[in-house]
Structure formats: structure tokens, C-alpha cells
Symmetry: C2
């Protein structure tokens, strides 16, 4: 069978190499890129129509990133009946319903395992298990940059700025790391995962999010004395009232699985009614892990003749920001002692159990715009 | 589509319920069991021919356990062109090549994800990734009973006998726990995993194995002072000379992933050239996790029209018991001080790096038949 890859950047090259170097029966006939590298003149084209109108090409991998023209190219391929796989979380999150329905209508496969967790086969396993199991919740470390920073600060005593700089030097963090640090990247992955777990259509902007941009060395010192480890966690829980989704730093006890996730690894856990707790840990980014995962999606798409029929339910569950209640750590210069919180150290508070609505309301009303907030895992007893 | 289940015990019932309670398109038409429970007269038959000669039934799940008559039933189904899934590690390990070739010859699917790791989608993901990646090694906690015992001894100070008794009361350990404690169960799972990872045909009897039957409370006290955590590990590494496979207790540092695996959980990690390190953690046994996994294999088999073609290589890699060298902890009443090992406590020794051949030879020559041996993870620096 013949395939094409849109984009010959890091992921596109990783995908190409994984397919080329194995005898997998799927041949990459064309690659689309604006730049044709020397020696690749027969493979790389700058004209999308060379792929779209080649009827031999039945599977197309989108590895360009961004919304446009990836959206236009992907919809054109699906309308031609070509199956599409993508590593592009932005595209999949933004056009989830439209692309799913377009694939369905045209009898093609749409897969995007690397869009969350990079090289970790999370979404395809979540989807496979959700066929027969009720997913009760999931939670995960889905951003390697912030995990690298938090781990370096806590286990190697790096100041925040040094940890960020090293993450950038190692290629984990973008030159503009804003969407990693403020949780927006994790929030998007949370929305995509919730779509699969709960058969819903999640608006990423409707997920209450705290990032780690305000964490300080003093916060880390306090966590050391509390005996906890901070991780940035994307979580969603199906409650009787809807879906409680959030992204926030969480403080875990040392014996927890999340505390054992070091450097830039990702770790995502589902809780299924039948399956119980099931965790996946691996490289959440990188050329070869992500490329190999996208290439595996291509093989699945090429040989999957089932064409999973998916019809969205008539109504989707509402978001629920009040049912789940957690204790929070707040470090700020605002005087909160009147609120009755405990205060293990000056300027640091541990709240009673609060809802997402209430903690975000409290945060929004703080004068200190450098406040740092983290929820406290229920296994932390102190 | 119509399916059948052989065996209506714990796993068979879990499988039946997972399929019955979801709208998955696969109907269980018949279940084979020696006993027909009241209310199940239309479903359960005692006559295997009711399944074998029912041409509507295209997928058969074997959940009987044991070698006979499961072997006869499975081969008969494959010869009739019915796809087979199985949770039976004994059957799959013993007849791996024959059953694989029989499925191939008859154009049917053979799947057995729950045979290793119960509810963890380990084997199917290992197989999927191995299509495009070179598996360098794997290692895992694949026996929940021994993990429960080791964890209870180390984190809750249970004496060995109490830990075993509680594991039995909780249903984790069989009334005869011999094959859990001596590593034979883990060894079988190691062989099956190695078959998939390295496209080989592993003889389980050729895997050097130490169990935990000789662990004592004093060993656990010493591990506490060493700052390490013991886990029973099945491991296989592809070396330039062949496959180095072993089952043995391993001492891990506290920050390791394996140390964070508590109670009866399993944790299996693959190391792929492209994928990097990828770990799966979940319930390695139990009615619902294992049943749901077997039911998912049934769905895959029912809808997988690819019929993965598998031809065994002409020659399989040899076993290699000399290349991989590790330090070992030995606790015994034999006097070993002449061997030049360090001795952190009386009767306890830490060896230099030794091969599997050498440590097993040393063990076999000990007078103390209650000696306990564990390898020391390379991350342990002490």
C-alpha cells in the first residue's frame, strides 16, 4: 500500500524513517514540504495536489502542526476517501467533531494517537478499552517540559530559571515555553483525552487550569518539608453531574506513581470500572517515539477495514466544576488567615476541600498575581 | 457476529459480562462448561461440538486454563477457520509455534493479550510496536502475588507467612502458591513476552530463575538499611550473542518506577530503539480486568481482517547467559568471605558483577538450601 506524509519536520522525518527502515508493507510514496532537501527530489513535493490526486495513496499522515493549511489538507484527503492520521493536537482538538464525522461519512479512518503523549500508545488504548469498559476518570502528566522543570527543581535543586533553560537546551521546551508553563498544552491534551474517554466534545477553554509559571524555589523548599512532590496533572472525572476536568499542579506523596516519573517522561492513568487502574509511562515527545507512534497509526489505518462507526450522542455531558472538591496549597502575599486555612509556613496556606469554581474564584480575587496554587493528592495525609 | 467462550469460570464470566453489558456487536452465542448454571440453560452447553460445528460462531475465547482439553479444543477451532483468543499462558507458552502456524495456515486470528499481565494491554502493544521498532529489552513485575507479598513485607512489616496468608485470603495467591513463589509463573510470562519481542521461540525451562520462597524478615530488614526495594522481575535483553532472559528478585532504589508498584499491581516496561522506555502498569489478574482484556481480544479478532501473516525466521537467536553481568545480594549460612565479596551484614554478601551462569552455579553449590539471592539494579550505587 502507498502512503504520504504532510510535513518533513521532526515528526514527519521520524515517521518516514520508521516506515522506511522496516519491511511493513506500507510505502511512503510522497512527502509534502515547502523545502525539498537535497537527495529527496523524488520523494518530497511542494505541491499538495501530487498527493491529493494520487489514487494509489490511501493513507496520509499529517505532521505539519498548526491549524492551517493542515485543516484544509486533512479535510481534502478525507473527502477523497483517504484515511488520515495526525500528531497535531491543535488540529484534532479544534476540529474533533467535524473531522470525526467527515471520516465517518467518507468511510475512512482517522487516528491521532501521538496527539496526546507522543510516543505513548495512550489514545488508541483508551479508545480500545472504552469499547467495553466504562472510563470513570483519567489523570496524567502530559507535558514533558514542565515535568522536567519540576523534577529538576525538586530532585536536583535547580532554580526555576536554570531548569527552564536546561529544558530548552535539551530541546524539551520551545523557545517560547508559555503554553507549556501556563498549562495550555496540557489542557488541550486533557480535552482530547476526555473526548475519547467519555464520548464527548470538550471545549478546551472550559477546563479550569493552573500552570507552574509562578512556582518559586521557596515553594519547592516547602514541598520538601511537607514531604510531597509537585507534578502538573491533567485530570477528568465523570461525576453524576457531568465531567469535572482540570489542569493544575498536584502535590503527591513520595510512594505515589507520579512522584516516580522523572525528567521529561509522561505518565497517564485511566480508571475503568472493569479494567481498574491502568497507567502508561513513556516519552511524550521526540522525533523517533512520536514518529514511530504516528507510523503505527498509519499501519493501523492502512489495514483496519472495520472503519469504526462513530455517531456522536445527541447530547453531551455538561462540565461540572463543583462536585470534585480538593484541598489546595496556596502561596501568596495576600493575607488569607481570616479564611480559616491552616498555614504551615508564612505566606503558605492549606485550604479545606474546595471546588474548582471556588479555588479559581479565590485565585482570581488575589491581589498577588504571582501566587502559586497546587491541589493536594488525597493520599497526602499531612 | 457470533462468538463462543470455552470455560465459565472467573475469566470466562468476566469476558461474557464485558461483552453482554456493552453494545459491541459481538454476541456470545454459546459457552462451554461442564456445569450448566441455573438460568443459563440456553447459553451454556457441555458439548464442545455445539460450538465447533456452529458455522455462525467465528470467534472462540478459551478461558479454561490447563493444557488439556484446551489444546485439543483450540486446535479444532483453528482448523475449522475460527479465530481464537486465549488467556491461558500455559497453553500459549507450550504450543506457541504450533498454534501460531495453525492460525496462519487456516487464515484465522490468534490473540492472547491476557496471558501476560492480565488486564494490562501488554502483549498487544508489544506486538504493535515491534512491527516498526526494534525491541532492545523488556523487564517487568508480572506476578501480582509475589509483589503483594514483597510490598507487604517491606512497607507494612508483615512477616512472610502473614503476607502470603493475606494474599491467599484476598484471592491473589492460589492455595498452592508454589509456582508464584518459585518464579515459574513469571518465567512462563517471560518466555511468551520474549517470543513477541524478539520473534523467537523461547523454552521456558531455559530461563535461569530465582524465586522469593527463601526471603526472610531479616532480608527485608537488611534491604531497609540498604535503602532498596525488592521486586520479582522477569527480564529479557537482546545481546549481540543472543537473548539474555532471567527471572529473579531485583533490588531497586527508592526513586525507581518499580519501587512505586504496590500491592498486587503488575508493571512491564519495554525499551525500544525508537520508542524509548515505555511502561504499562495495572491489574495483572482478576475477573473483570482479565475478562475485559480477553473480550477486547475477541473484538480485535472479530474485526481484524488483516490476518497478520507471521512466518517464523529460519533460525532463532540462542539464549545468552554470560553477556549480562550484575551484582548480586546473597544471604546464606555458607561462609563466602574467601570469594572476596563485600559483606554489609553478617551472612549477607554483595558480589562483583557476575553472569547468570556464574550466579546460578554459585547458588547450586551452596550448602544452605534456604539461601536468598537477588540482583542489584544498576541504579543502586551503594
Amino acid at each position: 500500500m502507498k502512503a504520504a506524509i504532510l510535513g518533513f519536520g521532526t515528526v514527519g522525518r521520524g515517521t518516514y524513517e520508521a516506515l522506511k527502515e522496516t519491511d511493513c508493507g506500507l510505502e511512503v510514496k510522497k512527502v509534502l514540504d515547502l523545502y525539498v532537501p537535497s537527495g529527496y527530489e523524488d520523494l518530497v513535493t511542494t505541491d499538495f495536489n501530487d498527493i491529493l490526486f494520487d489514487s494509489e495513496i490511501t493513507v496520509v499522515a499529517e505532521a505539519m502542526g498548526g491549524l492551517h493549511p493542515s485543516y484544509e489538507f486533512v479535510t481534502a484527503c478525507l473527502e477523497k476517501g483517504k484515511s488520515v492520521v495526525s500528531s497535531n493536537k491543535y488540529l484534532i482538538c479544534t476540529y474533533y467533531r467535524e473531522l470525526t464525522e467527515l471520516a465517518e461519512k467518507n468511510g475512512c479512518v482517522l487516528r491521532y494517537t501521538p496527539a496526546v503523549g507522543g510516543g505513548i500508545p495512550w489514545l488508541n488504548n483508551l479508545s480500545r478499552i472504552a469499547r467495553l469498559d466504562e472510563i470513570l476518570s483519567f489523570r496524567g502528566i502530559v507535558n514533558g517540559t514542565t515535568n522536567y522543570i519540576l523534577d529538576a527543581m525538586q530532585t536536583r535543586s535547580f532554580p526555576f530559571k536554570d531548569a527552564l533553560r536546561v529544558a530548552q537546551e535539551l530541546g524539551y521546551a520551545e523557545s517560547d515555553p508559555t503554553s507549556d508553563l501556563n498549562g495550555a498544552d496540557a489542557r488541550r491534551k486533557c480535552a482530547i483525552s476526555a473526548n475519547i474517554a467519555f464520548d464527548t466534545i470538550m471545549d478546551e477553554d472550559d477546563i479550569p487550569t493552573f500552570g507552574i509559571e509562578n512556582i518559586t524555589d521557596r515553594d519547592v523548599e516547602i514541598f520538601g518539608r511537607m514531604g510531597v512532590t509537585a507534578r502538573l496533572i491533567a485530570e477528568a472525572v465523570m461525576t453524576p453531574s457531568g465531567i469535572s476536568a482540570s489542569v493544575e499542579p498536584v502535590l503527591f506523596p513520595p510512594e505515589s506513581l507520579e512522584s516516580s516519573i522523572h525528567v521529561n517522561y509522561n505518565c497517564i492513568t485511566l480508571f475503568g470500572r472493569r479494567t481498574g487502574q491502568l497507567s502508561f509511562i513513556g516519552q511524550g515527545a521526540g522525533k523517533d517515539p512520536t514518529g514511530c507512534s504516528l507510523a503505527n497509526d498509519m499501519l493501523d489505518a492502512a489495514y483496519d477495514t472495520r472503519r469504526d462507526s462513530h455517531v456522536f450522542p445527541e447530547s453531551i455531558p455538561p462540565t461540572d466544576k463543583t462536585t470534585v472538591r480538593k484541598r489546595y496549597y496556596i502561596r501568596c502575599s495576600d493575607e488569607l488567615s481570616a479564611l480559616g486555612f491552616s498555614s504551615p509556613e508564612e505566606g503558605a496556606y492549606i485550604t479545606e476541600r474546595m471546588s474548582l469554581t471556588d479555588i479559581h474564584s479565590l485565585y482570581d480575587n488575589l491581589k498577588d498575581k504571582n501566587a502559586f496554587i497546587a491541589s493536594i493528592d488525597k493520599e497526602v495525609t499531612a
